[in-house]
């Protein structure tokens, strides 16, 4: 090391080190996150009569998480994510009908089949605009819906598959009538998959996805194979959605045709947008707000609920584009800036 080069090299080394450290720190668990994960535990003790609703929230959270992976991180807009959810649910349903009701095997197979479908349909999404992607994802979901509807010999058609027999988890915990086991099971699955997703989005792979979302043309210059990354994340998102569908089928012990429906996809997109995209927690918070609101409002009248839902969407687009988390963080940012500028202003 010569006298001139070393300070520069050292400077740039510390700069790189600093930015890397900041980057690594962003992957650490924060206090708020620990607090958030106390919620499902608290809910278990606070609302013992509502396990079915609670597990619905957990399933929807997982489903929203899966969409966040492909939409929030990779920017692939989808109006047909219910396809993978439905594949997962029907996998469990059909296995259950044949007496293969082991829950964990069901999850793995559901993830596998959904991932296969996701892998192959992802190639359809590499070309074309947002609108074309929207139509293709919608088209794939509708095709599956039609197939499930018409091949009623296998899928039960409109009647669905009632009374699936699910064996106890790990041979120990039986699914009870009140959904207690179901709730714990759904939350554990959600947490494990969330943890994995969190690792993934903070990995170099996850960062390259963000890069693709920001500027897909520039990423090849950083030697990121854009298409391969998109295929990978779409397949992953599909597998996640498949697991969500599987958990739904297992906790409800029922599969209906509506899991594949358009409204399922549209609601999901709304949930994610409501919570905030690209933050992992957005989908979870959106799911909590959505399901709770739906539960109370549709008790009043199912049609009113749809009206308020529509109104919420319109207002969201007009006034709060980042969703709950996006708006909250914008607000916090503003407050922080104001707090920072105040002492400086006083000194000058």
């Amino acid at each position: 090391m010569t006298s001139l080069a070393s300070p520069v090299a050292a400077d740039s080394a510390t700069a790189i080190h600093d930015s890397l450290r900041r980057f690594r720190r962003s992957a650490d668990w924060k206090p708020l996150e620990y607090l958030f994960w106390c919620l499902p535990v608290a809910a278990y003790f606070l609302f013992p009569g509502n396990y079915l609703l609670l597990s619905q929230i957990a399933v929807t959270s997982l489903f929203a998480l899966s969409l966040d992976l492909i939409f929030g991180y990779a920017g692939i807009i989808s109006l047909g994510h219910a396809a993978f959810f439905g594949v997962g649910a029907y996998t469990v349903g059909l296995l259950g009908m044949r007496g293969m009701g082991d829950p964990l095997t069901g999850l793995v197979l559901a993830a596998l089949f959904a991932a296969i479908l996701g892998f192959f349909s992802s190639f359809l999404l590499l070309r074309g605009s947002d609108l074309a992607r929207l139509m293709v994802t919608l088209g794939v979901a509708l095709m599956l819906y039609e197939l499930a509807n018409k091949f009623s010999g296998i899928t039960g058609g409109v009647d669905g598959i009632p009374g699936i027999e699910i064996k106890p988890v790990l041979g120990l915990f039986e699914f009870d009538l009140y959904g207690r086991t179901g709730y714990i099971y759904a939350v554990v699955v959600l947490f494990v998959l969330f943890w994995i997703a969190r690792r993934i989005v903070h990995s170099p792979f996850g960062q390259s996805l963000r890069g693709i979302q920001m500027n897909a043309q520039r990423m090849p210059a950083l030697s990121v194979p854009v298409n391969r990354r998109l295929v990978a994340v779409y397949t992953l998102g599909a597998a996640y959605a498949g697991v969500a569908g599987a958990v739904l089928a297992q906790t409800n012990q029922f599969v209906s045709l509506s899991v594949l429906g358009f409204e399922n996809s549209a609601d999901l997109l709304l949930i994610l947008i409501l919570g905030g995209t690209g933050r992992l927690y957005g989908g979870l918070i959106g799911a909590i707000v959505f399901i709770v609101a739906k539960h109370f409002l549709s008790d009043l009248n199912p049609q009113y609920w749809q009206f308020w839902l529509g109104l919420a969407l319109v207002l969201l687009v007009m006034y709060a584009r980042g969703g709950i988390l996006g708006t909250a963080s914008k607000w916090l940012e503003k407050r922080r800036q104001r707090a920072q500028s105040r002492p400086v202003g006083g000194a000058a």
């Binding site: 807009i77 091949f151 009206f307």
Partner: protein, 284 residues
């Protein structure tokens, strides 16, 4: 032969409703999933006038055109205009919200049942030709579709309003510089698209049925016509609608066990081979 004709009539109906969407989506770049709402408004205006007020069917048609057109103007002024520059996603969510509200409101006012429509005698019945039985109403639909298609194509290409519209779409800033009131052009275009949807909705009650879920049920069909036909292309929409109509009717007749699967498959294949649609020009 009868199936072919039914398919064509169905396609004409789809064309009537979707051509407005083709304009907003293709020319104004607005992903308006709420387009079916305007068709539904037209349908309900027609049915209410006919059944509750005893207005003859043909006399209800002008109202079914004007009312959705006015609704279109109001919504465009109040809401749509603010979102012209927004992302596709925002437009999708916004218009989806409108659909939900419209469906719920229709439920509230008219109930969930299918609305009945009694056609006048001179429009019902069939004409028996060698080799084909042609429903009079279907023939009426085909003629209406052709008239609208020719009229629209002519007005976009030949009239000064059409020229201003094309200019406003191709380059808004230059068009403004040339003294074209782009906002007004867009508003009128939007109203025209809504009015046509209303016409299609009213004429379609007999064939498509009419209930509060109408905008959701047929949304996919309208979108298919536009995306396959290539946005903003009137003749493209016409061909796409006819193709879709014939494929759907024939598919449901010959292979009922897979139903609507065929048209979805056709759409996906076309979009993969030509993402800009069959007749669209790539403009991004």
């Amino acid at each position: 032969m009868t199936i072919l004709f039914d398919g064509i009539a169905f396609g004409m109906l789809l064309f009537l409703i979707s051509v407005g969407l083709s304009v907003t989506l293709g020319l104004m770049n607005f992903v308006n999933l709420a387009h079916g709402v305007f068709a539904m408004v037209g349908g309900y205006v027609c049915v209410v006038l006919l059944n509750d007020w005893g207005v003859p069917f043909l006399a209800t048609i002008p109202f079914a055109i004007i009312v959705p057109g006015l609704v279109g103007v109001v919504l465009e002024r109040l809401l749509y205009r603010r979102l012209y520059e927004a992302s596709d996603l925002d437009q999708v969510l916004f218009s989806l919200g409108l659909v939900f509200m419209a469906v719920a409101a229709t439920h509230y006012f008219f109930g969930a049942r299918q609305q009945p429509l009694h056609l006048p005698a001179f429009l019902s019945g069939q004409i028996h030709l060698p080799g084909a039985d042609i429903g009079v109403y279907r023939l009426f639909l085909v003629i209406a579709g052709i008239v609208v298609a020719v009229g629209l194509q002519w007005s976009v290409i030949r009239t000064s309003f059409g020229a201003r519209l094309r200019a406003a779409v191709d380059n808004q800033r230059t068009a403004r510089g040339l003294g074209i009131d782009v906002n007004r052009v867009f508003m009128l275009t939007f109203a025209l698209g809504s009015a046509l949807a209303g016409l299609g909705g009213a004429l379609g009650v007999e064939m498509l049925g009419l209930d509060p879920e109408f905008p959701v049920k047929y949304l996919v069909y309208f979108l298919i016509v536009v995306t396959v036909g290539g946005g903003g292309n009137i003749l493209g929409s016409l061909w796409a609608a006819l193709l879709l109509g014939v494929a759907d009717v024939a598919g449901k007749y010959y292979v009922p066990q897979i139903g609507a699967f065929i048209i979805y498959a056709i759409m996906v294949v076309i979009l993969i081979v030509r993402p800009q649609g069959l007749f669209g020009r790539a403009h991004h």
